[in-house]
Subunit: 415 residues, 2 copies
């Protein structure tokens, strides 16, 4: 995140000028907009306006520009201003962020959102590499401080809501293997393998061979070192290449948390990969991705600062643009939205615990941006703004499972 | 099915004229078309052409018109000619039908199919009533001879492939109740309730109140009599009305096997019903329907003779045209295609056993048409030409289940 790490500004630049009448008028307007969220507004001179009834928290606005920004373009500016320390939140951060996220109309797109959809362009190989580098190559040390020890940076599956993050990530890896009915000897392709946890799990527990693709160099270094340490290099091959360059055939195709980075206009390319890669007799696969109920671009700030080039598709966009052109049937879809909210709650809690140490390596702007990203994502999943879909697919006349019960009952197989 | 019951023709009208050179040429052309299915052709004079290798069966063609019809418009004419007895099948009927159904290209639409999609018009209330009357009001006695005793005329759920039809239908009713997490006191709306089995099951086992809608008068008579017999009239109300006229509010909306009759151009009307009916806090629901991997009209013969006005949608058409405009999220999708193939195998087997008795009430044309419809449907599901989707949905911030395991493990609740 070079753009966040450099150009440090701090919360110290609080306005000292007295209020003007226009500030009070703007504050009242902002208050009216956010009133349904029961959040108050406090300006830089300490003056406050409150919602009718009890406020769950307050926005502390430190200068006039921040006030204007929040009114003019809240989708982008809330994140920018909070990162810059020109806006603070008093009260429970997560609850305030969640209440604010409920304000957006679900069935209306802002003009800027339509514009973003119209002008989205397919990322070529180089742009894709740069986008992925920017998020995933912040440094493995950074992620190690708040992810589970296996560094699984995707939605976990909690057997019950009180399970630990570690247990839930292990459960997720197992669930993916069961959903695609892994069998010893299967040839597996994984598109976008992160730090390699799933590929290594599959090889270790199911006796399959995995070719795992990724374009994040830091992740690949970690994954390869781990494969060597665990004696799995003969069964898991970590390949530094784009999903579009996947060649050869496979029995099982899995992709967990990559589709969001593909972008709608490259869905046809992914369909082509599936069509030429997946065996038409033995084939089956799973796409695990963040989704939406209706077409909409990602939040403008997330798109700018956190996930450049990302697009969160609807289920329909995935079935019609990826699976249908690849000649594949939908076998099973599970929405794990609440599990991602729980996963993010765990990540965020660990992240906050690590902040004192992170300050040694990262500036305050970066630290605040990631706090908002984690809390905002949790809010988006718990309110249903974002969904998490696991889609199992197969050629039309391939039976993957007779019935689901078998997925949830038998003891784990090990190879 | 008045059109099938009247105008009886029989297999007795076999051509006696000797073959002409053009007949041999046409037979060779037909043979070339169906060769990949390993099926032979035998003409009315006993002359045969065979596929390369062993044939699994033969088409016995009884006149020149039949030969021409099979070449010119097989989608429609196979059913017409077989019903009329101008075409017979030698060898295992189901296997031959399945082999023939595999011949159609999956990713290409015939011009007549495009035309059918373009010209499809939304059925008004009267047309819908006529279409439903034609299929479902053949007489309860007819259906009683080959359905299970509860008269469940939709895909069952087989705990294992060897389960009985009765067990599998009971399991399906229970599965639907669990998928929507029925709770005592829930107000349920069922759109298209058939002979009432699900509505009565819900009331009996889960202590809910059900308003069940249907426009088939014979089915309603049966359902009401059964409710009275079982003392459930205070909890289940069978209402003779179209789904578009559903009023009031409900906690749970279920529809099992009705969506196929709604037609694509009425999906917006169904979305409107969901939007105004389903409680935005407590609401959740399930749509169970025959689906497809890609947009395509129903087989022309099925559309003409069996299910007038029916359209089998893709999953994407349902999510974008029904759930999205209703502001609902996809919670869970299960493809039960193989279970429908099994269900149809059971129905067909019982149907064949009942044919001697059915001949007292129905002519040979009707009996042959239904044989082909049942065998052809089984083939369509087992080859993946048709899918069976159960879609669970809910408002975006409603949690229906924490995890699936609970659906498959606990003992049945009873009220």
């Amino acid at each position: 995140m070079p753009s966040l790490r450099s150009a440090a500004t701090t919360a110290a630049t609080i306005e000292t000028r007295p209020l003007h009448a226009v500030d009070r008028w703007l504050a009242a307007r902002l208050q009216a907009t956010i009133a349904p969220a029961s959040i108050g507004v406090e300006l830089w001179d300490g003056s406050t306006t409150g919602p009718p009834g009890q406020a769950i928290g307050d926005l502390l606005i430190h200068d006039r520009g921040a006030l204007l920004g929040l009114i003019a373009n809240p989708d982008l500016q809330f994140g920018e201003l909070y990162s810059d320390g020109r806006l603070d939140v008093r009260g429970p951060f997560g609850e305030v962020v969640e209440a604010l996220s409920r304000l957006t109309k679900r069935d209306r797109l802002a003009l800027s959102e339509r514009w973003a959809l119209w002008t989205a362009r397919p990322a070529g190989l180089l742009v894709a590499r740069r986008n992925i580098h920017r998020h995933y190559d912040i440094g493995n040390d950074f992620y190690r401080r708040w992810l589970d020890p296996d560094l699984v940076y995707t939605c976990a599956h909690y057997p019950d809501p009180d399970a630990t993050l570690e247990a839930a990530q292990a459960e997720k890896l197992e669930l993916v293997c069961r959903k695609v009915d892994l069998r010893p000897g299967d040839e597996v392709v994984e598109a976008g393998c992160g730090w390699g946890a799933l590929a290594l799990y599959m090889a270790r527990h199911y006796g399959v061979r995995v070719r795992a693709f990724n374009i994040s160099s830091e992740q690949l270094d970690f994954a390869r070192a781990r494969a060597a340490r665990e004696g799995l290099t003969d069964r898991v091959q970590f390949i530094a290449d784009d999903y579009r360059n996947i060649s050869g055939r496979c029995d099982v195709f899995v992709s967990v948390g990559m589709l969001e980075h593909v972008g709608l206009r490259n869905f046809g390319a992914l369909a082509g990969v599936l069509r030429r890669t997946l065996d038409s007799r033995s084939g089956r696969g799973l796409l695990h991705f963040i989704g939406r109920d209706r077409r909409r671009p990602l939040n403008a700030w997330i798109r700018r600062r956190i996930f450049p080039g990302a697009y969160v598709p609807t289920l329909s966009e995935v079935t019609t643009r990826v699976l249908e052109p690849a000649g594949l049937s939908v076998v099973d879809v599970e929405n794990l939205r609440q599990h991602y909210a729980r996963t993010l709650a765990h990540w965020w809690e660990r992240y906050e615990g690590a902040v004192p140490e992170l300050r040694a390596s990262f500036d305050e702007r970066f630290i605040r941006a990631w706090r908002l990203y984690l809390a905002g994502s949790q809010a988006a999943f718990s309110t249903g703004w974002l969904q998490l879909f696991q889609v199992v697919f197969a050629p039309p006349d391939r039976l993957v499972h007779w019935a689901r019960a078998g997925l949830y009952n038998p003891p784990r197989e090990t190879a």
